[in-house]
Amino acid sequence: MVTGAEEGAAPDSARLTDLVLDIDGFEGPIDLLLTLAREQKVDLARISILQLAEQYVAFVQQARSLALELAAEYLVMASWLAYLKSRLLLPVEQTTEAEPSGAEMAAALAFQLQRLEAMQRAGRDLMARPRLGREVFANGQPEGIALIATPVYDLGLFDLLRAYGDIRARRETQTLEVQAFDLYSVEEAIRRLRQMLGDCPEWTRLETLLPAEVGSPLLWRSAVSAHFVAVLELARDGRLEVHQEGPGFAPILIRRKEARQ
């Protein structure tokens, strides 16, 4: 369907110049080719690809003569079209299978031009339709469909009881912590021993120095351990000496250490 027949004169060079200067208006080489093809004023299916190739090459030459910078893709297309033109003009020979014939290449180009033109027309047709918000309108005050959400809680009796159990467990912990303040503190034992050290120039059994007024067994035990720690603290500070006869639970003896002055 595409032949290399020379039909129509070479394009008017003034017209070409206009096209060249309008290069920004084209969406690439195929778009430019399409514009040139329309100038042939024939059905695109019967367009002369050879003539089109010549027009295009002339366009590129014109652009160069005007020292206009053309994007690479326009130059690539020009060289491809020059190649296509030579293929179309040469007598049909037995070419290698891999290389499409000139006619096949021309047909592919014609298809692409038709396809692009179809899409350009489709785009214009779409835009010309009555469009929402321009020619056609939706309800300006849509009431909407109200959604009433009823919350359903994914909570069972088990979860409720478990939560209460946790609260009770936490309360027990808190109670214990509060009562813990009743324990005999090491600080208090240190204070007490310091006061009593003046009366202990000689070895004295620690248990005789323990407070007598302590009530509960737990408090008394904490007093024992607090005083023991206090003894170690004071010994480290060099305020008293500590001595234990034998292993195990043998009595612990302390005495004041004389200040070296």
């Binding site: 047709d125 309800n139 009881l161 467990a169 309360r171 027990e172």
Partner: protein
């Protein structure tokens, strides 16, 4: 324009394609073309339109009152009505159809830990004041916690405590019993039941004072021998 080929042809709209054809309307002429325009204007407008605003947009000489009356009559008994709202007119769905325009949906939600604990405390200690709940939980109640339980319909006010400040007390509702499958508040498991069921855990903090816990009865309910985990 090729687009016109696919454009739906205006069905039986006599002579409206040319707006100019509508100007000066003869006495007693067909209202229909004007009613169509008014209908579209009222439909598309983002707010109710007053008769004056309609008149400005309708062809000259058009009796807006008549047009509105005819539209109102057209929509009588339909799912959409033309109603007067203040000075303006607008289409609104028929009020009797409101149930169809409302979608009821159950939404599964999760209660916050604070809400679950608060509910548990209200259940076990009712009637209980907000301050008491905070004391038991050891933290202040955040603003929304009681609201969530109120919204769920599980709790309600139970009168005021006769104490300084007369604080409001809270208790659980019938739907609380329904939801949790309880025949009554007396069916809530007691502390001992919770413990036996393993729902009253001992915390590590207790172990730290274990020696003392042996000797000191902490609270009347808290008999350590009963604790299966001890």
């Amino acid at each position: 324009m090729t687009a016109d080929e696919t454009r739906p042809t205006p069905e039986s709209a006599p002579g409206i394609d040319d707006p100019a054809a509508l100007l000066p309307l003869p006495e007693g002429a067909d209202l229909r073309p004007h009613a169509r325009i008014a209908e579209a204007l009222l439909f598309a407008a983002p707010r109710p339109l007053t008769p004056r605003e309609l008149a400005e947009r309708l062809p000259r000489g058009c009796d807006v009152g008549q047009v509105l009356d005819s539209l109102r009559a057209d929509y009588q008994g339909r799912g959409v009505h033309l109603v007067k709202l203040g000075e303006g007119y607008a289409f609104r769905s028929a009020p009797d159809l409101a149930p169809y325009l409302t979608e009821h949906r159950n939404e599964t939600r999760k209660l916050s830990r604070a809400a679950v604990e608060t509910l548990a405390i209200i259940a076990y200690h009712q009637p209980v004041t907000r301050a008491e709940i905070e004391e038991i939980r050891g933290v202040a109640l955040s603003r929304g916690t009681l609201d969530v339980l109120l919204e769920a319909g599980w709790i309600g006010p139970r009168g005021r405590r006769q104490s300084p400040g007369r604080p409001l007390t809270w208790g659980t509702s019938d739907s609380f019993l329904d939801h949790f499958g309880l025949g009554g508040l007396d069916e809530l498991p007691g502390i001992e039941d919770l413990r036996a069921a393993g729902l009253l855990d001992s915390r590590p903090a207790i172990a730290a004072y274990g020696a003392r816990a042996d000797e000191l009865p902490l609270e009347e309910e808290d008999d350590p021998e009963d604790d299966p985990e001890a």
